[in-house]
Amino acid sequence: MAELTYREAVARGIAQEMARDENVVFLGEDIAKAGGVFKATVGLLEQFGPKRVVDTAISEQAILGAAMGAAMTGLKPIAEIMFADFIAVCYDYIANEFPKTRYMTNGQVSIPLVVRCGNGGGARFGAQHSQSVENWCMQFPGLKVVAPSSPVDVVGLLAAAVRDPDPVIFLEHKSLYATKGEVPDGEIVDRLGVAKILRPGKDATILALGMMVPRALQAAATLQSEHGIDCEVIDVRSLVPLDTQCILGSVARTGRVFTVEENPRQLGWGAELVSIIADESFYDLDGPPIRITTPNIPLPAADALEDLAIPSVSRVVETIRRSLSA
């Protein structure tokens, strides 16, 4: 057992898989010599050499194109798109190529690759470098979308993503890189499509992802201590595939559900989850499902404004408190 930062967990997860399988290669901008702009991949070049840990040109299309070619010809690439916002630059691969190739070749060609991104805000990077893009990715049949919130999940879910036979978008949260958590020694392999109940509760279910997970946990603690409201907090972890059993089961127990989403409100991931809940669990609901999200605005760079935009602990507490008291 060791205490690792989230960024150290990224390097550990990649190293675990590269050591296990020589077909796993890693490519991206400044990931090798510089150890990543977020310093999440330090030491990998030294450990695995320049043939397997490759600094690329500054071209997201080239990175994903190369990764796709490598995946089609037998390797298991991990490609880094530094800021998740840059997915838009290479969206054709994400939208049209990766998720459809297995289907269009009748299963003859699969694309076993992982695209890692630094996702989300809170770091004052401005409107083009702070977005939460999980909903950009979860709309494509054939694409899996994972977003860990803790170091141990980074290692386990990254391993699961690398071992998955299909393309996985792996959304690390920029503002979580410095957070710490216990990570057991030895190989860690998690499963995609399994949510985690981080805090059991009976009054309401809070569904959160990425950086919203620690905020939801903190909000739940405040709701309990100051308002006597006992919330169940679920780290959704994997949007596609989605652990509907865990989520619907929790809603059946609590009767109320709140999503805490960093992505802009319009068509955020919670909209899809709430629609499933309304469809499947309507008669388990004792009040409207409520989404706590960033408003539908470009994220400001100014710290005070960014803090106002992204759901805060106090906003989560206040929304749930108001909704649960008559």
């Binding site: 509907t244 499933i276 309507f282 008669y283 388990d284 004792d286 009040g287």
Partner: protein
């Protein structure tokens, strides 16, 4: 292999052969040009995709054929000598212009399952419905409150809402259900209060047992029935010698066993079909005459009883009915029945024969109009036609009837039809 008229664009339905490069009998290599075609949009050369010998040309120069139709047949090297090769593709291959007709001619997907599978995760939408959000009095309710109310037999209109804008929420229903207060009719104003009752037993040791929801529901529903439903009762004794023998015969060696009760449920369902005017339920200002015989069966469970309903008991095979009933009873004992599985129904059968009860009168289970009470089969002496005494197996039944819905003569006809089937039990197997 068949050479087909290719599809030269989404909206093109046919093409015209303008030139043949090969003649019948020529050998063809993959990639050799076979013919030229022209459509209203374009023209192109069509090459062979496999090597062989051109056996037959079906569309000559200048001929216009539908997309997908066979233009020529190339016998591949190693193919069997020419014969009727494959069916004309125009019969097997959809043509664009025909596609709507083709769709309608196709059989429905997996017969009867009209439910669309959610492509996202294969989720199912529940079919249950627990009523409207706004009650007739104007009060609002949450979906969960409605479900809990129906499941615990709480009348929502009597529950005070504590939610936002007075909405009745789950906690209100749970509270009403626990307190047994305004929400249930176990105690009416004319009844003595619990304290008055307890006062009568001060010198007697006792334990107080709390009423659970099932007990409250039974108390409320049966009080209502006995107070509001004008009951009358018909009693009869049936000779079930043949029925018992039939059951023995059915169960011989087989692994699927049927009970006397299964036979009686099926027989009663059939009898209700013969006397449709008895297959009615009381709906306040009207009767509903039911088309199917959905028979409830009273099942004792720890702490009370429930009456799961065998739907379509008249049309099920006996074995199917027995299995369905066994499943319902098992789940009833685990208290796992859905509300939809014990509500509605045409009539109820209640059997206390296993306790040696000879006969009893049951209380009608509203809105159903009849309930059949079945006693124990027992050997009794009867007078035979020639005046001698003989022993046979007899069964006493009692039919309780809601006189608002069914009159004596109709109920008599129903009982007679039931008797005929029970005493000629092969009809149960039809």
């Amino acid at each position: 292999m068949n050479v087909l008229m290719p599809q030269l664009g989404e909206t093109v339905a046919e093409g015209t052969i303008t030139k043949w490069y090969k003649a019948v009998g020529d050998s063809v290599a993959a990639g050799d040009l076979l013919f030229d075609i022209e459509t209203d949009k374009t023209s192109m050369e069509v090459p062979a995709v496999a090597a062989g010998v051109l056996r037959e040309i079906r569309a000559q120069n200048g001929q216009t054929v539908a997309v997908g139709a066979i233009v020529a047949i190339v016998a591949e090297s190693g193919d069997a000598p020419p014969g009727p090769l494959e069916k004309d593709a125009s019969g097997t291959r959809p043509q664009l212009a025909d596609s709507p007709a083709r769709d309608s001619a196709e059989p429905a997907v997996s017969g009867g399952t009209s439910r669309a599978i959610d492509p996202y995760h294969g989720l199912r939408t529940p079919e249950k419905n627990f009523g409207k959000a706004r009650l007739p009095g104007g009060a609002r309710t949450t979906p969960l409150a409605r479900r809990l109310a129906l499941e615990s037999g709480i009348e929502l209109a009597t529950v005070q809402g504590s939610g936002p804008r007075g909405r009745v929420v789950a906690a209100d229903v749970r509270r009403a259900s626990l307190s047994g207060g305004s929400a249930n009719a176990t105690m009416t104003s004319s009844e003595a209060s619990p304290d008055q009752i307890k006062a009568l037993y001060t010198s007697t040791p006792y334990r107080e047992l709390k009423l659970d929801n099932m007990r409250k529901t039974i108390a409320r529903r049966l009080s209502e029935s006995k107070q509001q439903v004008p009951h009358f009762y018909l009693n009869a004794d049936f000779d079930v010698e043949a029925l018992i023998a039939l059951r023995k015969e059915i169960n011989k060696g087989g692994t699927n066993r049927v009970s006397v009760n299964d036979l009686l449920v099926k027989a009663y369902a059939l009898a209700m079909q013969e006397v449709p005017e008895a297959n009615v339920v009381w709906a306040g200002d009207r009767l509903l005459q039911l088309e199917r015989s959905d028979i409830g069966v009273a099942v004792a469970v720890p702490g009370g009883l429930v009456t799961p309903i065998v739907r379509n008991a008249d049309t099920r095979s006996l074995l199917n009915l027995a299995n369905e009933l066994a499943g319902l009873i098992a789940r009833a004992r685990e208290r796992k029945l859905l509300a939809s599985e014990y509500t509605g129904g045409s009539a109820t059968v209640s059997n206390l024969g296993m306790y040696g009860v000879r006969s009893f009168q049951a209380i009608v289970n509203p809105p159903q109009a009849t309930i059949l009470a079945v006693g124990a089969a027992e050997r009794r002496p009867i007078e035979a036609k020639d005046g001698t005494l003989r022993a046979t197996t007899m069964l006493s039944v009692s039919l309780s009837v809601d006189h608002r819905a069914v009159d004596g003569a109709t109920a008599g006809k129903l009982l007679a039809a039931f008797r005929t089937i029970v005493e000629n039990p092969l009809r149960i197997l039809l």
